[in-house]
Amino acid sequence: MNNGTTNVLIVGVGGQGVLLASEILTEVAKNMGLDAKKSEVHGMSQRGGIVTSHVRFGKKVSSPLIPAGEADAILAFELAEGLRWVGQLGKDGVMIVNTQEIIPVITTTGKFSYPENIQEKISQLAGSPIFIDAFEIATKLGNFRLVNTILLGVLSKSLALDEKKWLEVIERMAPKGTGELNRKAFLEGRKYE
């Protein structure tokens, strides 16, 4: 935390639901009566590219972008993306990584390969990161699209935002008819150890 501003960096790959997750987090912060900003870049990133979303909230937020190395929490939707961004984590920051792997087309050229031993490498840089197979939990709950809500549940434990506000926003912003399921997914993530 920097001058009372909380910085959350959410990263992943186009199509994973990073933008909806950051939208929900920002809305929850707003409903707590805080100033909140969120910034990301749309466009080319949607076509399988890297997606990053900066969310900042507190009494008064100026820059929409988080300064380098000052993230209070990083939520990575994809394993290698966790490794890519772990350096942005601030002192005592919380690192949460979904262990799902998305292998880009570029590996088929043989010029690049997907990194190995990623969990070990992240652990060396991030204190005690939380790894979670959210894809598996989502599948067990009945829908693999619940990954982002489960991950928000994990993230919610390290942020000072009310559970009630989280659930209100999630139920309102979830696709029609999936409110209850998303509520369950969020709570599943929230109790993850």
């Binding site: 707003k30 590219g49 380098a68 772990v86």
Partner: protein, 590 residues
């Protein structure tokens, strides 16, 4: 009430609240959501449309302003190049009802072909420029822009950047208020720009600029935040947010009006601080004007004109200038460089079959602005030029006429791009007896910007059914005698038609018929899978560059990886199955 809005949504909200009645645009990142928001939430009060290009968008908005409606023309930065012709002389005619042009610049080229700084257009045309620094200001500045426009009889340029357009912040919501400016009243000396009248109008423009300078001196849009006077910072737009966070103790003159500058205010601010800096994104636009007044100032020496700014590079600039302690600079831990993820054509994209066929033909492809440009990256590598909207046709024709290139060049552009700026190029090529082949990748949508309708599709932005342009008839009417349509999912047919047309000693047009698989709705067929035992790891399917195909853990006897298809994302387009020499790619059994 407060809402979380992006800069684009806030601009749309401003158009609604401050009595806007007309909005026209051509989609372009990062500006697209302005019109989409108007059409989605405010269409009962504000008419919104996609124009065929930015020039037309501005011309109809000008007409609407002359006709008494507060109006908006929105575009990305390079769109204003297309609209520059009406823009420059519009400065002379002025307006009737308030007229706003939004230019959404893209520092860092997140989704653009250059990072031009469109504040210069304001100075170029003597048109005032407003620069919001938050979503709230994006909404508020619409009010000021309409008022300035009507008071000074001038269009107003609101210049935003990607970080303003696509960042969300809290915005206070208000009620809609309208104004009555009457209808169109003929005024030959004001609206008919022949030399005799335009000369008089130019004189008025020069006088108007002086009045606008006075306005800028007094306006609350340019505000001083006094603090410690060792360092004074002149800044605006999102750069203000970075400067404020990087130098919380400095005094700041925040410019809401980026042109013309309040030079007296700046002089007096400069005289009260020990050292004056300008923090601005892209070019040294303020800095040059301030320095030209003989005021001692530093800017671009410390804050680059390359790429967008952020807190880190602003802090670094102030450290290098010796006014900030270097302890603020963080050394990030060394992390392993992770593989890149360049954007690629989607799984099932109809452009893929076209790219594969053009590659097999061994031609050069002069490309254009749209998703197909993604086919320029490996492994497809089949786009050889990309400059601006519509340029593909001129490029292919020019290479042919230059006569020094053995390989043929085929022009490739999408339906929306063809309508935007390709028709004129094609007519010119026919007229000048070219022999080029033009491929129109007609996916029936403007895809790259997120799926907007265009004049070749079936409905307007207001959701009404409309009469689409018939691309085949259009090309025929331009004098193209050989217009063929192809299904790009059929590789053999696509290849043979392209081959025939490329060999033809006459202009020809080939139009693809498959819709985008993402917009207006996702298209999925039964997915395909790889039979690992049959796969010989030849890599043929890798070379179609599909994001659903990756290297399998299994290898052949030489250690080469076999292929694997992600059946969750495969759309069943069959391109990979068609290139597979051993029939190892088969439909998933239902």
């Amino acid at each position: 009430m407060e809402m979380l809005l992006s800069g684009n949504q806030a601009l749309a909200r401003g158009i609604y609240e401050y009595g806007g009645e007309f909005a026209s645009a051509y989609p372009g990142t990062p500006s697209t959501e302005i019109l989409e928001t108007i059409a989605r939430f405010f269409k009962d009060d504000v008419y919104a449309e996609w124009a065929i290009n930015e020039k037309v968008a501005l011309e109809v908005a000008v007409g609407a302003s002359y006709g008494g409606a507060r109006s908006l023309a929105a575009m990305k930065h390079v769109g204003l190049n297309v609209a520059a012709d009406p823009f420059m002389t519009l400065s002379y005619t002025g307006v009737n009802a308030g007229l706003i042009i939004v230019s959404a610049d893209d520092p860092s080229l997140h989704s653009s072909q250059n990072e031009q700084d469109n504040r210069f257009y304001g100075k170029f045309a003597s048109i005032p420029v407003l620069e919001p620094s938050t979503s709230q200001e994006a909404k508020d500045f619409v009010k000021h822009a309409f008022e300035i426009s009507e008071e000074f009889d001038t269009p107003v340029l609101i210049r935003v950047t990607t970080r303003i357009c696509h960042s969300k912040g809290l915005v206070t919501i208000g009620e809609r208020k309208t104004v009555d400016r009457g209808g169109f009243e003929p005024n030959i000396e004001k609206y008919v720009m022949v030399p005799a009248y335009a000369t008089k109008r130019h004189k008025l423009v020069i006088e108007r600029l002086e009045k606008l300078k006075d306005y800028a001196e007094k306006s609350k849009l340019n505000q001083i935040e006094w603090n410690d006077k060792k360092v004074g910072i002149v800044t605006g737009s999102v750069a203000y947010q970075y400067a404020k966070e990087a130098m919380p103790d400095a005094s700041i003159l925040k410019l809401g009006i980026g042109f013309p500058l309040p030079m007296k205010k700046i002089k007096s601010f400069a005289s009260e601080v020990d050292q004056l800096f300008v923090v601005e994104e892209l070019e040294g636009f303020y800095e040059e004007m301030i320095a030209a007044e003989g005021i001692e100032v530093e800017g671009k020496k410390y804050f680059s004109n390359f790429l967008e700014l952020n807190i880190d590079c602003v802090r670094e600039g102030f450290v290098n200038a010796g006014v900030l302690d270097s302890s603020v600079l963080k050394t990030l831990p060394k992390t392993e460089s992770v593989l890149p993820r360049p954007p690629v054509l989607c799984s099932g994209c109809p452009h893929r079959g076209l790219m594969v066929s053009l590659k097999k033909l061994g031609v050069y492809t002069t490309g254009d602005i749209g998703c197909y440009t993604l086919g320029g990256l490996p492994p497809l590598s089949q786009i050889h030029t990309c400059l601006c909207m519509g340029a593909s046709i001129g490029h292919a024709f020019g290479i042919e006429k230059a006569g020094k290139t053995a390989k043929k060049a085929v022009a490739l552009l999408g339906d929306s791009t063809f309508l935007h700026s390709g028709i004129t190029g094609l007519a010119s090529a026919v007229f000048n007896k070219s022999r080029i082949t033009v491929v129109i990748a007609d996916n029936k949508i403007t895809a790259m910007t997120g799926g907007q309708d265009n004049p070749a599709t079936l409905k307007t932005l207001m959701g009404e059914k409309t009469k689409p342009v018939d691309l085949v008839k259009l090309c025929e009417s331009l004098g193209v005698e050989h217009v063929r349509t192809i299904d790009p999912y059929d590789l053999d047919a696509t290849y043979s038609v392209l081959k025939e047309e490329v060999e033809r000693e006459d202009v020809s047009v080939v139009i693809t018929t498959r819709p985008c698989m993402l917009f207006p709705s996702k298209i999925r067929d039964i997915p395909y899978r790889v039979v690992t035992e049959t796969c010989i790891a030849c890599g043929a399917c890798f070379r179609v560059g599909c994001p659903s195909i990756s290297a399998a853990p299994e290898t052949n006897e030489k250690g080469k990886h076999k292929s694997l298809i992600d059946t969750n994302t495969c759309t069943g387009c069959t391109i990979c199955a068609q290139v597979c020499p051993t029939g190892a790619i088969v439909k998933v059994e239902s």
